[in-house]
């Protein structure tokens, strides 16, 4: 029983972070029709920047329990790098999607070395504040309270994003642009602005995800390329372009990995890919995707 709870909690924590990155990927794909391979870089960027920001704040005398809001803000702030990147992407919106995939791959390569240049090749961690909130007992299992906070934050962001897209005027415009860019422009929507907004928000989701994960695990150069594949898995399982899909997909991948780690460690990633392949064969458009092929 305790083992099961352990797996579920660990998996949900991982899923919470994964959801944020995958949601960014979905948002950008839904509106700009670009599969953003650089989403993993945004994740890693958030992680590295989070470490630096919290380190500086602690030096300035910030009490340790305040690190959670600092981390979130750091993630949001660094997410603004999405703006200049969107300027470059703008040149290829109407090109073939192989080029769009390639250009984001180029960004991924570049970011890899930006991290190495700024933060060095050795993994960086900040586990000193991880336990600042102590631990909580749930059904006989002790978990760091921080993990629960992250799960709550991720859920909060999911709800906020849903409300933004479904209930507000901006959200309606975003959805209209996603549906048909030319028609939206014909009706007076400034699509360039919407694209910049969407890409930046997508980027922020990634950086916040990275910033939130970093107290529990170190930031390393490999995290970007590794996360891309996981986020891809989430998106494929859930269906391209669907937020609900991202949520469910993240839960499946997160729980699957946690279960595999505790049962058969060598199957950790293999199990995830097997689910992906199964999903693509049984339900090619994903659980919540629109039929496309």
């Amino acid at each position: 029983m305790t083992e099961l709870v352990d797996v579920v909690l660990g998996g949900t924590f991982h899923a919470a972070v994964l959801f944020l990155v995958a949601a960014g990927l979905q948002l950008v794909f839904g509106v700009q029709k670009i599969v953003n391979l650089a989403c993993g870089s945004f994740y890693a960027l958030g992680a590295y920047f989070g470490i630096t920001a919290v380190g500086m704040a602690l030096k300035l005398g910030m009490p340790a329990p305040l690190f959670f809001p600092v981390l979130t803000l750091a993630g949001l702030a660094i997410g603004l790098v999405g703006l200049p990147i969107e300027r470059v992407l703008r040149t290829i919106y109407r090109r073939d999607e192989s080029y769009q995939l390639l250009i984001t791959f180029g960004f991924l390569l570049m970011f890899q070395y930006v991290f190495r240049f700024l933060w060095g090749a050795t993994p960086r961690s900040m586990d000193n504040v991880y336990m600042a909130y102590g631990t909580t007992q749930i059904w006989g299992v002790r978990v760091p309270t921080y993990n629960l906070l992250v799960i709550a934050a991720s859920l909060g962001i999911a709800v906020a994003l849903g409300l933004l897209l479904e209930r507000t005027r901006t959200g309606r415009i975003v959805r209209a642009t996603a549906e048909n860019r030319d028609m939206a422009e014909g009706l007076g929507v400034n699509a360039s602005k919407i694209f910049a907004l969407v890409f930046t928000v997508g980027c922020m989701l990634g950086t916040v995800g990275g910033a939130l994960v970093v107290p529990s695990s170190a930031a390393s150069l490999d995290m970007a390329v590794e996360l891309v594949v996981e986020a891809f898995a989430v998106v494929v399982i859930g269906g391209l372009g669907s937020m609900r899909g991202a949520l469910v997909g993240a839960l499946i991948v997160g729980l699957m990995r946690a279960a595999a780690i505790s049962l058969m460690p060598e199957m950790e990633m293999l199990s995830v890919y097997l689910v992906v392949v199964a999903a693509l064969i049984l339900k090619p458009a994903g659980l919540f995707g629109k039929a496309t092929a």
Binding site: I103, F105, L109, V225, L270, V277, L280
Partner: protein, 337 residues
């Protein structure tokens, strides 16, 4: 016949065909120059050319899928990995040293794997095809990485020096690679180029181009889309497997990085760098990539940053790649088009 209607629908291609005919000659000319290279170049430069041949062969196949059929695979490193590990297992574990046998086995195994993978993948196109191939590539990578007992995990597996044409070659590793192996790989490259040229020029190649241009129309005039795509996938995988064997023998090692998705990304990079719309383009892209990477690595440790920047600039400003740029210059000289 249905052929004219396809040509009419894409007049741009028709105009380009003059240069396409030259594609094979461009490539064979390049290989002829390379055959003379050992007389002037240093052993270092010669050894640098070996990865180019491995990648070049793989890219000939990759381009049948990407350039000709219009399917972008983001997991093609899977087949390079298959070839490399086939060579490793055969030489290191079973003591099979005949290079010809390695090539045939690698081609067969890549072909079989691709038949299974392809049957699932080619039902999709565009981004879904890319993502599915990526998933299969990573499936293979994590198998290589985690099943330490079979594959050596992240250490990889050694690849022993093979016998060429049943003969044992004495001398150091450099002498072997720059001497007999270099010419062997070069001859193989030339042979496979000719074969690929025949394939693209055949009615089968025409079917593939028809599928790329308009799959619905092609199906309407009787092209069997699924079978044709699958055949293209298998052929490209066989080329990938053979390229993988050459890479593995060159480095003497088969490691899981070969099958990692960023390696697949590099293959796409090479194809676009050279220009995927032409026959010789991707192979030229492989050459340019190998040279560029070597050059950038020698001047800065942040070479991937430069490679990434090159890729971004390439996509934005020169989407037709090197051969596209060359074509543009030639056409302009011919009389301002």
């Amino acid at each position: 016949m249905s052929i004219p209607s396809i040509d009419i629908s894409s007049p741009v291609r028709a105009q380009r065909s003059v240069l396409r005919v030259n594609g094979l000659w461009v490539l064979l000319g390049l290989l002829a120059i390379m055959a003379l290279l050992p007389m002037v170049a240093s052993p270092y430069a010669i050894i640098l050319m070996l990865p180019f041949m491995g990648y070049g062969i793989a890219l000939l196949g990759f381009n049948l899928l990407f350039g000709t059929t219009g399917l972008l695979s983001f997991g093609h490193a899977l087949f390079l990995g298959t070839g490399a590990y086939t060579a490793a297992v055969l030489t290191f574990k079973f003591g099979v040293l005949s290079f010809e046998l390695l090539l045939i086995t690698a081609a067969l195994i890549s072909g079989l794997i691709s038949l299974a993978v392809g049957a699932l993948c080619v039902r999709y196109t565009r981004i879904f095809f890319g993502m599915l191939t990526l998933a299969f590539g990573m499936l293979f990578h994590s198998f290589l990485y985690k099943f330490y007992n079979i594959t050596g995990g992240d250490q990889g597996m050694r690849v022993l020096r093979p016998l060429l044409l049943g003969m044992e070659w004495r001398g150091g590793k450099t002498a072997f690679l720059t001497g007999p192996f270099y010419y062997y790989a070069l001859a193989l490259f030339a042979l496979l180029s000719l074969a690929m040229w025949r394939i693209t020029a055949s009615p089968f190649g025409l079917h593939l181009r028809a599928i790329r241009e308009n799959a619905g129309k092609a199906a309407y005039v009787g092209v069997q889309i699924f079978r044709m795509r699958l055949a293209a996938f298998v052929i490209s995988a066989v080329y990938g497997g053979i390229g993988g064997v050459i890479l593995a023998v060159t480095t003497g090692l088969a490691d899981p990085e070969l099958a990692y998705w960023t390696h697949s990304g590099n293959l796409v990079f090479m194809a676009v760098l050279g220009g995927s719309g032409t026959f010789a383009g991707p192979a030229i892209g492989a050459l340019a990539f190998v040279l560029l990477q070597d050059f950038v690595m020698s001047i800065t440790q942040y070479w991937r940053f430069v490679m990434g920047a090159v890729l971004v600039l390439l996509v934005v400003f020169m989407p037709q790649g090197l051969s596209g740029a060359a074509e543009f210059l030639v056409n302009r000289r011919k009389g301002g088009r």
